[in-house]
C-alpha cells in the first residue's frame, strides 16, 4: 500500500497548483481539450523531455496543466509550483525574453504573440498558443484570471532593491539557481547586468560560511589585490570572467565580474556592498 500513499502524496503535492487552475470556460468560447495534466519532479521529464532539467534547477515541486480549445486555436496552460517565491521568480527570469518589456502580472510577467508567462508567490504560469498568429489578447485574458486565483506575494525579491540602478540594464536581474558565474562554490544567487560588467550577490547561511566561500574564491583566483570594501574584498583577473571585484559583507558574498580591462570596479562594488542589508 506504500505505492498508494505515494500516489496520494503526489496528488496532494500537486493539489495546491491545481487549486489555481481555472476551467477553460472561464473565458467565453473556450472548452477543455483532453484530460488535465499533473506532474511532479519524478515524471515531469515524461512531459517535456530534457526541458524538465531547466525546471529542476529551480527546485520544481509540481505542475498542473490543461489544454483549452476554441476553433483551431489551442492553448496549453501550465501552472508550476516551486519551493519558494525566489525560485518561481528565477524560473520566470530564465524563460522570459530579456530584450522585451515585462508587465505587471502577479510579481511580473511577459506576453508575446504566442506565449504568456508570469510569476506570483511560488508559482510560475506559462501559456502557449497555437497556431502561429497574434494571441496576445486571449493570453492576457487567461493570465488575468489565473493571476486572480493565486494568493500570495506580488512583490519582487528583496535582492532587487540591493542592486544600484545606475547603469543597470533594465530587467536584467535574474536568479542563478546553481553555480553563479559558473563556479560551484557560489551556490546560488542573483546576477544583474551593467553597462560595464555583471554584478553578483550570493547569500550564505552565516558570516562564517560566507568567509569560507570568500577565502576559497581568493584561492581560486590566485593573484589578487586586496581592496577596502565592507568586511573584506579583493580585485583579480580571470581569463574567462575578466576583471573582478569581490567583497564579503556579513553573510553575503558579491561583486562585479566581466569588467573591461583597466577598470577595477571598486567604486561600483562599494555601492553594491553598501546597499546590501
Amino acid at each position: 500500500m506504500k505505492t498508494g500513499l505515494v500516489v496520494v502524496a503526489v496528488l496532494i503535492s500537486a493539489g495546491s497548483a491545481m487549486a489555481q487552475m481555472p476551467p477553460c470556460t472561464a473565458v467565453p468560447g473556450w472548452t477543455q481539450r483532453g484530460e488535465a495534466r499533473r506532474f511532479d519532479a519524478d515524471n515531469l521529464f515524461e512531459y517535456m523531455d530534457g526541458n524538465a532539467e531547466g525546471y529542476f534547477l529551480y527546485h520544481f515541486v509540481g505542475m498542473k496543466g490543461i489544454s483549452c480549445q476554441s476553433g483551431d486555436t489551442t492553448l496549453n496552460i501550465d501552472i508550476s509550483e516551486f519551493e519558494d517565491t525566489e525560485f518561481a521568480y528565477g524560473m520566470f527570469t530564465s524563460t522570459r525574453d530579456p530584450r522585451l518589456a515585462t508587465e505587471k502580472i502577479g510579481v511580473t510577467g511577459q506576453v508575446t504573440q504566442r506565449k504568456g508567462v508570469f510569476t506570483k508567490d511560488k508559482y510560475y504560469v506559462e501559456i502557449s498558443a497555437n497556431p502561429e498568429k497574434d494571441h496576445s489578447a486571449t493570453l492576457r485574458a487567461f493570465l488575468s484570471i489565473i493571476e486572480k486565483n493565486i494568493q500570495g506575494r506580488t512583490t519582487l525579491p528583496d535582492a532587487f532593491g540591493w542592486f544600484p540602478t545606475e547603469n543597470l540594464t533594465p530587467d536584467s536581474i535574474r536568479l542563478v539557481p546553481e553555480s553563479v558565474l559558473g563556479l560551484r562554490l557560489l551556490k546560488s544567487g542573483y546576477i544583474a547586468q551593467y553597462q560595464a560588467g555583471k554584478a553578483f550577490l550570493v547569500r550564505e547561511s552565516s558570516p562564517e560560511a560566507a568567509a569560507q566561500v570568500f577565502a576559497k574564491l581568493r584561492e581560486r583566483f590566485g593573484q589578487i589585490a586586496p581592496a577596502k570594501i565592507a568586511d573584506e574584498a579583493f580585485t583579480a583577473n580571470d581569463k574567462y570572467l575578466s576583471g573582478l571585484c569581490v567583497f564579503r559583507k556579513g553573510n553575503f558574498v558579491g561583486g562585479l565580474a566581466n569588467l573591461p580591462e583597466g577598470r577595477s570596479g571598486v567604486a561600483e562594488t562599494e555601492k553594491l556592498a553598501a546597499s546590501v542589508k
Binding site: 515524461e46 539557481p177 546553481e178 559558473g182 563556479l183
Partner: protein, 388 residues
C-alpha cells in the same frame, strides 16, 4: 561494433544488490576536485558517421549551463561539440551559446533543434536560431524530440532539405527520447535523408538499444548520446541518504563512461552546469570504466528499479490469473508518468472483463519476479486501484 556493452552484461558483472555500507564507502572515496587550469591532453575523438565530423567523444549539452564563461572555457580547453535547442529557455539558451562561441565558431561543431510541427514553422525556427546563435549556419539541425515514425513528416523533412540546400545547416538529424526500436528503422528507411540521430542512451536502457544503435551506424548515421546520466541525478529527493551518495562526484562520471564504452556512439552531450562538472566530465575521455563505476551505477539502478519498467517482457505469461503484466505497468506509467489518466483508464478498460476484475490482493503470493527489480505486485495493485 568495437565493444558491445549492455545493461544486462553490466549487471551480471556487477553482481546483485550493493549493500548500503558499500555505498557509503563509495561516497566517501569521492573527493571534490579542485578547479585547476584547463586540462590538457586526454581527449578522445570520434567521427560522427557519414558526416565525417571529427568530434570529442564528450561534448557539451548547454541547456542548463549557469554562465557563458563555462562554455567559453570548454571550447578553449578543446571540447568540439556543443548542443542547444530553439526551445531551451524560450530561446535565451541559443543566445548565450552564440555569445560564448562566437570566437570559436569555425573550430567547433554546433547543433540546435526545432520542435516545429510544420514546414513553415521549422523554416522560421532555423532562421531565428541562426540569428540567436550569431552564425550563418549550424552544423547539425535536429527535429526535436520525435518518438514515433509518423512524426517524421514529409514537410519537416522537406524543411530540413531546404535548410541544407540554403546552407543554413550542413547536416540534418532527429532527436529522440523514447520509442527508439520503432523510430530508428523509420529513420533508416528515409536514408539518405538523415545524417545524425541524437538519442537517449544510458545504463538503465534495455540491452536491445545497443543493437538499435548498431543498425543505424551500419547505415552511416552518426550517433550522439544524450540523457547519458539516465535523467540526471537531479530527480533525487533531498534528504535521501542513498541518493545523496549517488549525487557525489563520480556517479555522473561513471554513467558517462558507461556510454562511451559503446564505440558506436560518436559523441555525448551531458548537461554541464559549471566548471567543476566540465572538469569531471573530461575525465570520461581518459579514465576507463572500472569496477567502482559498475558499483555506483548498480546502486543507482537499485534506486530507480522498483518503479521503472523497461518493458523487457520477462514477466510475460507468469501471472496465474492471466494478467498482461507489462501492459498494465505501462498503463500505470501513462497515468503517473505521462499524466494521461484518461489514456491509462481507456487502455485498462480495453482489457477483457475477467482480467479487469482480477485483484492482486486476492492472491496469497505472487510468482512474478521482475529481473530489473520492479515491485510488480505493488504496481499492479496501483493499476487496479486507479484504473478499474
Amino acid at each position: 561494433m568495437e565493444h558491445k556493452s549492455s545493461r544486462r552484461n553490466f549487471l551480471a558483472a556487477a553482481g546483485l544488490a550493493l549493500p548500503t555500507v558499500a555505498l557509503a564507502s563509495i561516497g566517501k572515496a569521492q573527493q571534490t576536485p579542485k578547479l585547476g587550469p584547463p586540462s590538457s591532453g586526454g581527449f578522445s575523438y570520434r567521427v560522427l558517421g557519414k558526416t565525417g565530423l571529427k568530434v570529442t567523444s564528450v561534448g557539451f549539452g548547454c541547456m542548463i549551463t549557469s554562465d557563458q564563461s563555462v562554455i567559453e572555457r570548454a571550447a578553449d580547453i578543446g571540447i568540439t561539440y556543443f548542443d542547444s535547442a530553439r526551445s531551451y529557455q524560450n530561446g535565451n539558451n541559443e543566445r548565450m551559446v552564440g555569445a560564448a562561441l562566437k570566437a570559436k565558431r569555425n573550430s567547433i561543431t554546433l547543433s540546435t533543434k526545432t520542435g516545429a510541427k510544420t514546414k513553415e514553422e521549422a523554416l522560421k525556427h532555423i532562421d531565428t536560431s541562426l540569428t540567436e546563435l550569431g552564425t550563418d549556419h549550424v552544423d547539425i539541425w535536429y527535429l526535436h524530440g520525435k518518438g514515433k515514425p509518423e512524426e517524421l513528416t514529409d514537410e519537416l523533412l522537406e524543411a530540413q532539405q531546404m535548410a541544407k540546400k540554403a546552407g543554413k545547416t550542413r547536416f540534418v538529424g532527429v532527436s529522440t527520447h523514447s520509442g527508439q526500436p520503432e523510430l530508428f528503422p523509420a529513420v533508416i528507411q528515409k536514408m539518405p535523408h538523415f545524417d545524425v540521430i541524437l538519442t537517449s542512451y544510458n545504463f538503465t536502457m534495455d540491452p536491445k538499444m545497443d543493437e538499435v544503435i548498431a543498425s543505424a551506424v551500419k547505415q552511416g548515421i552518426g550517433i550522439v548520446g544524450m540523457k547519458v546520466m539516465a535523467g540526471g541525478f537531479r530527480r533525487a529527493k533531498p534528504g535521501d541518504k542513498q541518493t545523496e551518495i549517488l549525487k557525489r562526484e563520480g556517479a555522473m562520471l561513471a554513467a558517462l563512461k558507461w556510454v562511451l564504452k559503446n564505440k558506436n556512439v560518436g559523441t555525448t552531450i551531458p548537461s554541464i552546469t559549471d566548471n567543476e562538472q566540465l572538469e569531471e566530465n573530461l575525465k570520461a575521455m581518459s579514465v576507463p570504466f572500472s569496477d567502482a563505476d559498475q558499483k555506483i551505477l548498480m546502486a543507482q539502478l537499485e534506486y530507480i528499479s522498483p518503479l521503472y519498467c523497461r518493458m523487457c517482457g520477462s514477466c510475460s505469461g507468469q501471472c496465474p490469473k492471466g494478467l498482461p503484466v507489462s501492459d498494465m505497468l505501462r498503463y500505470v506509467s501513462y497515468s503517473e508518468g505521462y499524466g494521461q489518466f484518461q489514456l491509462a483508464r481507456e487502455s485498462f478498460l480495453s482489457l477483457a472483463p475477467e482480467i479487469r476484475d482480477v485483484r492482486c490482493n486476492d492472491c496469497v503470493s505472487c510468482p512474478i519476479h521482475c529481473p530489473n527489480g520492479v515491485r510488480v505486485t505493488e504496481r499492479l495493485q496501483t493499476a487496479q486501484e486507479l484504473l478499474a
